[in-house]
Symmetry: D2
Subunit: 334 residues, 4 copies
């Protein structure tokens, strides 16, 4: 960490700062220039509170040289993490093809879609049971009944299931869920993250609409600092001024995340674009950019889906996407 | 609601849509033009799922004529709501002056600040006990002990207390809290909002960093639809590309919210700017723009605050802000 | 165009509006509902000023059913436009590989890079002669001398040259430039666009950092309305809150633009990411998403480039990118 | 400037960098830590190209301690600049009240509005003659005829006139214009800025929709480095995800700019909000935040304005705004 001290700061106050830092088992190097004094801090600064130091009136600015995340940091874990989701591996060259409807609606719907997406190439089944909706008047999901239906679909198809948790109190219901999703709106629901850190469940952690890549890694760190290192990150579009797509899919996050962390990165082109006909080009692009998997909405009857029908593919469209994704991955692996 | 049907859409599918809408006790008016067919929907459309209709492949776009929020809507409640926080009224000309430290740190700290801000003109005391922090390694608040200290400060000064809740399971601890804050990161934690809707507690609902004004109102609607109409809205800066301030304070939200809703609107210039010396101009500007209150961080020793010291005012600076705010409000009331 | 009239608007004023619209050779369809009156406008509404109608106090909102751009609109020109840049075709399946340094620095530099990128697979040479720089104190380009050097590189390699214009007064100097670039900062320099509309030169029009896809098409329309339809659009990153990359590359713009317009779409991953090691994944992703070309910065000595060295590839890295792009395009064409 | 060198960088390369910096008459201080080497650069670094240094592969990051703008920098010019616009002073306690229509439409219109706004308290007249419009099919202004009409209004009322320039070639036409506006879309039209730097005309420089405060100051620096220091800055809303207002008015820019620069800061609440009924609260808020003037659209017949009628006030509304602004300024001056 580098602390740039304000021009003309009181010397005694600078010494106070240096003593305080050193009292935390860190080493300082002071460099006095004509216009500025710089204090370099060496050691494990991840537990130093950057805001606290910024609060000192003698400090002009603070810059971290090392990142504030440790468990998720590739520097300390150079090899790709491979997350095992009930036998399906993700990361380190293993590709997740997660597909299914936005919401579980009925027994026939979820079984039928599960069989279709499996035939089309999916290796995990997604489906919402507890649904976060902007309006309290919109369909909120089948809840516990939806989880039951997902488990039935799993029994029939063998596909591990992925579904979203919105409340740590529901954890007992998620005992047989294979991959628990934390949605974009809950990425900084720190209480939920901490609880998930005390489980051993694989977690699919979605980036918030207005969260930076570093904040996504700090959210992963919340879970990992509790002991659970089974995390898959997911980029699903960020909020910008552009309105032609629902959100702006930030595919640059793939190489940036691969550089900063060892955790696998999955892309959700369905929520990012919000438009079914843009899902294929973005899915193929994401695969080309090196992502570790895709999560795509598939519905047997998109126009009658109870939510997000506008962005759902039909099973035959999903099969087409899966084929193109495989072609691109094969071409780049040559 | 106005539904614009795609050029060349199948007539039978259009009729299906019309029948489905009418089956929900809504009335339709169809207008066929040369290039487009428009279906106007009359009645209470707040329970119609806009995304669902957008999902139909015959639909080009959907536009709401009436807003999807009802309880918070000024159209159905033209007079300003006045929220009573343990005797301190907010809204309808009543101004909230909420002040205190980011975090409760110790008995002496919170008592001393409470007395200082009361003397300077505050009518409520804020202080964080449960702290949402981006890093799991940063100070997370004194938790239940912090609540105890706040209650002690209330006993001594008589100021109602305001503090943030992060987990609905903590509600029993908040029994004697006068105004419960929902932080920006939890604005769309719908599970928490629903629980708060089942209480009668006044709620200070902060706008999320990337949430629109309409989404803020939909979040209020979550609480109100549960029966709790005691809500104070709070703008605290949104995330933009500008980095000179921590966030960009959106003061236009004041007249926009006053037009759309009857709920009071409080401004937080401390978190929005993140810089103590910008708090006064923004506080005075917010008062001039017609807000119903201000929530400002005050600390007796900002450089040693355990969090957010960079944006905290000293008590004497807060007194200066309060005086200027009063001058501006008096001048505009003439 | 659909005009939604305010509830309770004066009937006489509504009739005034209808007469005024009809006086412009447009047809109206009026639909009166219980809560709202809707005026549908049929005909060529591209010349109707949306803001003007929004300004009427009886109007609640205005929604275009047809887009305000005509010449660039795929509806009126369903086939892909193929732009001929001195023999190199772009669009309709023809792929532009534009490469070269940010700035032309010297005779040896530009000749050497031109030969290298040609060998690596480029079919056009880029190089800045007039440079838009944020600071007046930064290197501003070799100007007319830079153009001379580019022309010399063209003579030697046969590669058509691409370079940026910043001032319509410089047009005579650009007589032998094959593809004239309008930079992001000048996308809404309407005076420059109009002048370019009076030439027959192919134009590479870059999207502004804060401009929507629709505004990019309106900027193209400025040039096309003057008679010059030789336009290639370029996405080069938009400005968001994320700071891990210089800008956020909006690859969804590729399918959106291909749907709305017949003009080819080229991607600039170098300026978008600002980081050389992210250029390859983003270039390959863009090709997978279906773009019509790539413009990439290549420098023989990136660390000593006079500008934007951080994002420049060495020629051998560019060759590697070109190979991967070709693999992906071949795989998807199967 | 502080250069953070990458961990493990080649020592010889670091020495090369240091020699290169010192060859530019700058002094370096090197601080070697366990994990990092820091090179502090002392002297006038405003001419050092930050991007160039970032391009070196041995460099991790670069941080400026001093700002890259000099002429506009308050550090070197602590007193407020007072700009004299044909006798009307702006800055240093002098307040500009600029009002008038978006576009000059006719002789009667501009004379009538000029007289009205003068009576209501304006001390300058604005009016667009050359209009930047998103669509080539929208009204583009009366051009030279519009300038003539403005000059006539000036003769009659004595109000200095403010109007936008879009093309440096038009400068001869602007000889009698008192304050030349550079619009938001041209803020980084560096060729235009350079030309204006060679005049002595007062310039009203508007912030671009996606430009940071620092970029606004660098744009001012372009003009000032040419010798023209008569610059008034103008904040007029930035582009964000929020759609309730046309743009988001960034009032925090007022204290930030007052801290960084000596140039006066004027606010345009009309273009920022795009809605007439939000202009008053934002104008009063801006005055309370300490701005040096307001530029507000006023039209005698807003519903029939040829552009931007939605945001124009009627003269009697403007008078009401002016009175409230004066009350707030008087209250804060006590």
């Amino acid at each position: 960490m580098i602390i740039i001290v304000k021009h003309g700061a009181n010397e005694e106050r600078i010494q106070d700062l240096i003593h305080w830092i050193e009292s935390q088992n860190l080493i300082t190097h002071v460099s006095k220039g004509e216009f500025t004094t710089i204090v370099g801090v060496i050691g494990d600064t991840s537990k130093l509170d950057e805001d606290l130091i910024m609060g000192l009136d003698i400090v002009d600015s603070v810059k971290r040289v090392s990142e504030p995340f440790k468990s998720a940091n590739r520097k300390f874990h150079p090899l790709d993490s491979i997350i095992d989701v009930s036998g399906v591996k993700v990361g380190g060259g293993n590709f997740a093809m997660i597909a299914g409807p936005c919401s579980v609606e009925s027994h026939d719907q979820i079984i039928s879609i599960a069989q279709d997406v499996k035939a089309a190439g999916a290796n995990m089944l997604r489906g919402g049971a507890f649904k976060p909706r902007t309006s309290p008047y919109d369909f909120q999901g089948l809840k516990a009944d939806g989880l039951e239906l997902l488990l039935e679909a799993k029994k029939i198809t063998g596909l591990p299931i992925v579904t979203e948790i919105m409340n740590a109190n529901h954890l007992p219901l998620f005992e047989n869920v294979d991959l628990i999703q934390v949605g974009a709106r809950n990425m900084q629901n720190f209480e939920l993250l901490k609880e998930l850190g005390h489980t051993k469940k694989p977690i699919l952690l979605k980036r918030g609409l207005a969260n930076t890549i570093k904040e996504l890694l700090m959210a992963a760190e919340y879970i990992m600092s509790g002991g659970n290192e089974n995390i898959i990150l997911c980029e699903r579009g960020i909020r910008t001024f552009e309105t032609a797509t629902r959100n702006t899919l930030d595919l640059s996050a793939i190489p940036v995340l691969h550089e900063l962390t060892h955790l696998p990165v999955v892309i959700d082109p369905s929520h990012a674009t919000g438009v079914a006909r843009y899902v294929k080009p973005m899915a193929v692009a994401a695969a080309a950019a090196g992502c570790d998997g895709l999560i795509i909405e598939v519905h047997n009857d998109p126009p009658h889906a109870l939510c997000d029908g506008a962005q759902s593919l039909r099973p035959e469209q999903y099969e087409d996407v899966a084929k193109s994704v495989n072609k691109v991955r094969a071409a780049l692996a040559e």
